[in-house]
Every structure is written in structure tokens, then in C-alpha cells.
Amino acid sequence: MKAKKVSNAIRLTTEDKVVNGVAIFIGLFTFLVTVYPIYYCLIYAFSDGTMAMAKQIYLFPTSPTLDNFRAVLTDKLLVNSFLISVARTATAVVTSVAFTALTAYALTRKELVGRRIYSMIAMFTMYFGGGVIPTYLLYRSLHILNTFSVYILPGLLSVYNMLLMMAFFRDIPESLVESAQLDGANELKILTRIILPLSTPILATIGLFVGVGAWNDWYTAAYFINDQDLMPMSTILMKLVSAADAARKAREMLADAGGGAGMVKKGTTSVSIQYATMLVSIIPVMCVYPFVQKYFVKGIMVGAIKA
């Protein structure tokens, strides 16, 4: 007698199928609304600016051209700003992660006298800031205005990142530290040989936080940098966006004054160059993120629960 073949597959009920259908729909919808804007940037950046405006593209480029990218990549200011962005991001990641690790480790050690006071001082800065003008005056007295240092020194330590890292460090068994101390290791050695090698998820997470923050930060350069050669790409991009708004204001003001001089009309390629610049600026982050993602998820979860 032939045995009846039993399927191992779980039979889905109607309810399961409905739930799956809804989940797939939501997933696809989310995918679409998150990816389409980037896709739109892509097709616009590869289109002739005027034609894209006139034909209102949705799915495919119109009059395909590389002119927008050529404009971006041959603009000395933009190329230079890209290099500044890379330099400040790389430097900020290295220095900020290192300082945060040093501080966080010290504040987790019970032997540190006054660590509660240090923690409270640090926490205070999380909730209260001086405002733009006092910050500006402080930076001026520190002589970091209009220098590359203004990107690095004020951001050396983020209290939020420090708390995440402290939570992660506390999760490491104290016995490891004690055994190292018995073997004669000093604090720096314990940190570099024991703690940090066990903390790669949180280091990667904070590295990513700092990196993305530094890459996207336009604010610092907007107010604390005057030299065009020190502007990062995010600031240049913000400037491109603001230029349209400024043009509108100028036009309205001139209309009230009846001034004929300086009539403002936007170039039809300014938008397409804006999109091309956006694409160029997000490519590095998109390239790095997949490699750090696995650490990122683990690190942020541990930190979030413990903090």
C-alpha cells in the first residue's frame, strides 16, 4: 500500500493569507515611497533640466544627458566641498569614537573619583545649550571659527553616544577586567585589549552615527565658516536649495518697490543640478552603510535596552 505523502509545509489559513497580503502590500508601499524619491532624483539628474521641467517626468529621463553631473563634477567649489566632507567625516569618526570610548570607559569605572559629577555635567549639556550667538562667541575665543577644527573639536564627545557606549561597556563581565588587572594590565591596556575588541558593534554604531551626522551637517559651516574653500557638500547643497527661496523673496520685494533692475528668474537647470548634487552626496553613505549595518542593528539594540 502506497503511503500517503505528507507535506511538511505549514498550511496557511485564510487569515494568514490576508495578513501576508497586507504585510506584502505595506512592504511594497513603504519600499515605493522610500525608493521613488531617490529614483526621481536619478532620472531628473540624468535629464535635460529644461525638458524635465517642461515634460514633467515620472518614470524615465527625458532628453538624457550627463550635463548635470558634468556641471557638478567640474565645479571647483563642489569638488572641493566633496573632499572637505570626506575629510571631516573621516576625521570626526576616528576622533569622536576614540574620545567617546575613552570617556565612557572612564565613567564606567567605579574607581574614578567624582564620576557622578562628571556624568551630571555631561548630562546637563544634553538638555541645555547656549544658543547660536554664545556658541559663536565661544568658538571665536577658542580661535576655531573659520577653521577645519570647528568640524572636529566641538563634536569630539557626544553625551548621547557616550551613554550608549557606557551601557555597552557595563554589559561586559567585570571578571574579564579583574583578570587583566591581576595580569598587570593598566587601564589603557584593558580598554584597548579587552573592552574595545569586545565592543565592535557599539563602536561601529557610534561610528555610523557620527559619520552620517558629519556628512549631513550643513549647519556648522553655515554659521561658523566663512571661507568657501572650507564648506562641505551638505552646506553647498543647502545653499542651492535656499537660493530658490531667496530669489522668490527678492522678486516680491522688487515688485513692491517697482524696481526693474535685478528681475529674478531661475535658471531651468538649477533644479537638475540640485538633484545631481544630491545624488553625488548620498553615494558615499549608501556605499558604506551596508557594511556597517549588521553592527549597527546589534549595537543600537544593546545600547537602547541598557541605557
Binding site: L77, T95, A257, G258, G259, A261
Partner: protein
């Protein structure tokens, strides 16, 4: 592992040392624009000389040009400038032909500080830290000017003129401009562009330039205009009927469009209904224009246009870019913008274009002669920098400066613009007894049309028109309006001049933090809140109800204080029954 740890620690130390040292070394760095300005003399910058200069401008044989300070001293110098305009051309000084020619002729180059976003925080920071650049420019009504005056951060331009560029005061800048810019302490700390003196105002009228390229108008596709019965609607109702006719023939088009303007209020629609920002009643009491009896009529008309499908939601959400996209695509039959949009060709019919319609009977634009950009010189600038600023002002207000910054390369009347933006020729002189010197600089019509087609593109490539507003003091002579020669300009002046009037006492400068300012801003927010409700109300009765509700909320927002302040200011400034330009 040990080796790598040491290496990492060493690298980290080096990086931090470098950043710290770069900060410490900053004080002597001349590239630090504001903070080094007071104590450091701008360095000679031989490298700032243009590497390659376009063909030089033909010399202007005008004896009055001799003896100017900008001619006597052409040593290379770089001065810092603040320009309140994100993405301004000043940031790329030396990359366009005009800035190259200025540097070649005067030796002066600029290093620009400009805001990144269109707020005024950057200038506020420079003022608060007393670190103004050498040459400061900002909108005529920027709130920071008052702080700069009071804190003594600006130099007296009359004294500087006497010291460094005497002809600026004695010959080049209209005495009326000096007087207009004089502050209560008797000094002149700033000069102003696009401000009309009596003489220049007369010139504008006689040369058809009162109505210029940015006069608010409704533009219509000419192919659609040919199809309608009433080609010249003179009332809102006639215009409504015309739009209905267009909608029947072209159901896919947007008959009337105000996108990019009316996101938070009626904007240019106000002019079309004879309204403005303020309303002056017969007793010379001033209030915001929603008290004008025509205001409710405008709201009902907009509501009717929306309910009849003649205006869509696009008008209330679109940006400037959307407006450009929709008009270029030909998706709108008529739209409100400025005369400068004339001859825009829609993509779906290359044989037609948009052209301004005539004004409705009730159209009225109330203007104030407020000028455009103020400019001054930092009191803490070095002597060399002050000298350079004054030489630049002198150059900019001279005939050669006018030609360099506005006109371009001179040709003869028989020449024509060849499409060469850099080398021109761009303009010629024609005889005109009513113009200074008996001749009038005139752009070749083909060059002017190229500008109309791509204003900012031509401006960026040629450099013409991007700088003059920051140095010229004349409202007419020596502005680009002088160079326009266009039948369109004449026609627009014939159509609109009767609908334009000036009422300078309506130029109000609110004091920061005052009750009047707060009330004014609250009411502006209220208008933005109610604007779309009025437009999309189901019927006119609901519009009226919402309007009354709005009036009550405006009254609750301390409107009485605002109106009292406006009235007092208006009447003390000599406000009276305004008269039309003609």
C-alpha cells in the same frame, strides 16, 4: 595587535594635534574673513588678477572720467563683502567676465561671505560679534542695519568719500540719495540702490520704465486667446467667463493658475483687485488691506473660480519650480506672474507663447520708493580696505562702471549680438537728448531677448546684471532698465501706468519685538490659515462667514494696536491721498 594599537594611538594624537594647531594658528590667517578684518590689512593678491581677460571694453572717451580714485590706484587688493543672498555670484568672484574686468580695471577683488539659508542669522552673528566684513550689503529694510548704526560699526561714507574718493560725493551720487540715506545723527552710513530721486523718477516716466519687467500681470497662451470671444476682459467676471470658455475647449488645461505665489495668501492677486498690503481709508486711517471693501469680493471670486473648476489646488500648493514646470509644459491657460515671463513657449505648441493681458479696470499697485540693497563700509576695516571700498563705489557709480557691470561690451548701432555672451558686443549707444550725456546705452534686442529667455543663465555666464544692485545708487540712469529697448516695455507702460501709484509713507519699519510687529505677524499667519479655507469653501455664504470669523480673530490679536501704530506712522510721514504716477 599591540603594534596596531600603538599606530592607531599615534595617528589619533597627530590628528588632534593638527586640528588644535590649525585652530591656534587661525588668528594670523588672512582667509578668516570677519575676525581678521579689523586688525589685518587685506593682503595684496597678485594671483587674484584674472589669468585670462576677455577682450577689453572699448575705451569710453569721456573726459569727466578722468581723475577718479579708481583710476589712480589699481594695486591688487582683496576686500571682504557680505551679500545677503545664498548662492550669490559674488561667491565666485573672478570666474565670470564682469568680475574679471572689474579686477582688471580697479585691482579690487572680493572674498564673499553669504548666508547658506535664507534667514538673517549669519548677518546677526557678524553684527553681534562686531566682525563685519569690509563692505556690508543687505536688503534696505534688514533689521540689522539699525544695530550697526547704533553700535558704530559702520563708517561715515561722506567722510570716506572726502578722504578716498571725492568724486563719489561731488559728482556721481545724486545729492537726494545722500539726503535720503542720512541718519538722525547727521551721518550717512549706507547708500541705497534702486531708489528714485526726483530727476531719475521723471526719467523713468519719460522712458517707459515705470512699468518694468517685474510688473505683476496675468499671462495667457496666445493660441487659446485666439479661440475665446472676449479677448480683452476688463473685469473679474469677464475673466471668469473667458476661463469657462477655455475650459470647455480644453478640459485638460488649468484655466487660471497662481502657483508659486498664493501658497499662504493672495499675493499678486491683491493688485488685480486694487488691493495692496495696507488699506488707507478716507480719514487716512491705515490698516491691513483685508479691511478694504474689495477684499471680500476678491475672496468670493477666488472661491467661485475654485468651485467652477477654473482654479485647482495646484495654485495653492505649488512652488516656483512647479510654476515653471506647468507653464513650460503648457498645462496652464493663464497664470499670474510678471512681465518677464513674456514669450515663454509651452512645450505642447512651439508656435505659440504666453503674453501679458491688459489690467482689469480695478487693477492697482501701490508702490513705495524704498530702494533695494543698502551698502556700507565697516568702521573697523583697515585703511587700505576702506580706500578700496570707496574706489569700488566710485567705479560702480561711474560711466565705466555702468558699462562694465550692466551693459557689457560696446558695439556700434550697425552691429548685433552674435551669441557670444563673454565677448559681446552686447550694447550700443544711441542718441537721446533726454539721457545724461545725450545718449542712451541700449542692449541689442537679440541680447535682451536672450536674457528674457534665460535671465539667470545669461546673468551667471556673462556676469552682467549680477553685481550692480550692490553698488549703484541710481534708480534709473546706470541701471539695466536704461539699456532696455523694447516695444513690450512701451506697451506695458501704456497699459499699466495708470494703475500704478506711489505712496511712500506706507513704507513701515517695525521695531523688533514691538506689539505692532507681533500683531502684524499674527495677522499674516491668520491670513495664511484662512486663505485656503476661503478658496475651498463650498459657497459664498461660507466664505463670508469665514471672513467674519477671521476679522474677529484679527481683532482679538491686538489689531487695534497695529492699526494705531500704522496710522500714526503714516500720518506723521505725510501720508495723504495718493496720486497716480501719471
Amino acid at each position: 595587535m599591540k603594534k596596531w594599537t600603538k599606530l592607531f594611538a599615534l595617528m589619533l594624537a597627530v590628528v588632534l594635534l593638527c586640528t588644535a594647531l590649525s585652530a591656534c594658528g587661525q588668528s594670523g590667517n588672512t582667509s578668516q574673513a570677519p575676525s581678521s578684518t579689523p586688525n589685518s590689512t587685506p593682503q595684496s593678491t597678485p594671483e587674484s588678477k584674472p589669468e585670462s581677460t576677455p577682450e577689453s571694453t572699448p575705451e569710453v572717451s569721456d573726459t569727466s572720467e578722468e581723475g577718479y580714485a579708481w583710476q589712480a590706484n589699481t594695486d591688487p587688493i582683496t576686500i571682504t563683502i557680505y551679500v545677503d543672498d545664498p548662492g550669490t555670484m559674488w561667491e565666485k568672484w573672478g570666474t565670470d567676465p564682469v568680475s574679471q574686468r572689474v579686477t582688471e580695471k580697479t585691482g579690487i577683488s572680493f572674498k564673499c561671505i553669504a548666508p547658506v539659508s535664507s534667514d538673517d542669522t549669519k548677518l546677526t552673528l557678524l553684527v553681534a560679534s562686531d566682525e563685519l566684513p569690509d563692505y556690508v550689503t543687505a536688503n534696505y529694510n534688514a533689521s540689522q542695519w539699525d544695530s550697526m548704526y547704533k553700535q558704530g560699526q559702520l563708517a561715515d561714507l561722506e567722510a570716506l568719500s572726502d578722504q578716498y574718493a571725492p568724486k563719489l560725493k561731488s559728482e556721481l551720487v545724486d545729492p537726494e540719495v545722500w539726503e535720503h540715506c542720512r541718519t538722525e545723527d547727521g551721518h550717512v552710513y549706507t547708500l541705497l540702490s534702486c531708489w528714485n530721486s526726483t530727476e531719475t523718477f521723471e526719467w523713468l516716466k519719460s522712458h517707459d520704465h515705470i512699468v518694468s519687467s517685474n510688473q505683476p500681470v496675468a499671462l495667457i497662451r496666445q493660441d487659446y486667446l485666439e479661440e475665446v470671444t472676449n479677448k480683452n476682459p476688463t473685469t473679474p467676471d469677464e475673466f471668469h467667463d473667458m476661463c469657462m470658455e477655455i475650459k470647455e475647449k480644453h478640459p485638460d488645461t488649468i484655466p487660471f493658475y497662481t502657483g508659486g505665489l498664493t501658497g499662504s495668501g493672495p499675493s499678486y492677486l491683491l493688485y488685480m483687485f486694487g488691493l495692496g498690503t495696507y488699506y488707507v481709508d478716507e480719514n487716512l486711517n491705515v490698516s491691513r488691506s483685508f479691511h478694504n471693501p474689495n477684499y471680500l469680493g476678491m475672496l468670493k471670486w477666488v472661491n467661485r473660480m475654485v468651485n467652477d473648476g477654473l482654479m485647482t489646488e495646484d495654485s495653492f500648493v505649488d512652488t516656483d519650480n512647479d510654476k515653471d514646470a506647468k507653464s513650460l509644459a503648457g498645462k496652464v491657460a493663464t497664470y499670474v506672474w510678471t512681465v518677464g515671463e513674456t514669450y515663454k513657449v509651452p512645450a505642447d505648441n512651439p508656435d505659440t507663447y504666453y503674453y501679458p493681458m491688459g489690467p482689469w479696470d480695478g487693477y492697482e499697485q501701490v508702490r513705495t520708493n524704498n530702494g533695494y540693497i543698502r551698502f556700507g563700509v565697516s568702521a573697523k576695516a583697515s585703511d587700505e580696505a576702506k580706500d578700496a571700498c570707496m574706489r569700488f563705489l566710485e567705479f560702480g557709480n561711474s560711466l565705466e562702471g555702468f558699462e562694465t557691470l550692466v551693459c557689457g561690451i560696446e558695439g556700434t548701432k550697425d552691429d548685433d549680438y552674435t551669441g557670444d555672451l563673454i565677448n559681446g558686443p552686447h550694447f550700443y549707444y544711441e542718441d537721446d537728448p533726454t539721457s545724461p550725456g545725450g545718449r542712451k546705452a541700449t542692449w541689442y534686442e537679440s541680447f535682451y531677448n536672450a536674457k528674457l529667455a534665460d535671465w539667470s543663465g545669461v546673468e551667471m555666464k556673462s556676469g552682467l546684471g549680477g553685481y550692480h544692485s550692490y553698488v549703484f545708487t541710481s534708480g534709473i540712469y546706470q541701471t539695466e532698465t536704461e539699456t532696455m529697448k523694447s516695444d513690450l516695455s512701451t506697451e506695458m507702460n501704456e497699459l499699466y501706468l495708470d494703475h500704478v501709484r506711489y505712496d511712500d509713507p506706507l513704507l513701515f519699519s517695525f521695531e523688533a519685538g514691538s506689539d505692532a510687529l507681533v500683531a502684524n505677524q499674527t495677522i499674516t499667519s491668520l491670513i495664511a490659515e484662512y486663505w485656503t479655507q476661503w478658496a475651498f469653501a463650498p459657497n459664498e455664504e461660507e466664505v463670508e462667514r469665514l471672513y467674519n470669523e477671521f476679522l474677529q480673530r484679527a481683532a482679538d490679536s491686538d489689531e487695534a494696536t497695529l492699526n494705531q501704530w500704522l496710522t500714526e506712522k503714516y500720518q506723521s510721514a505725510g501720508g495723504s491721498t495718493p496720486t497716480p504716477v501719471k
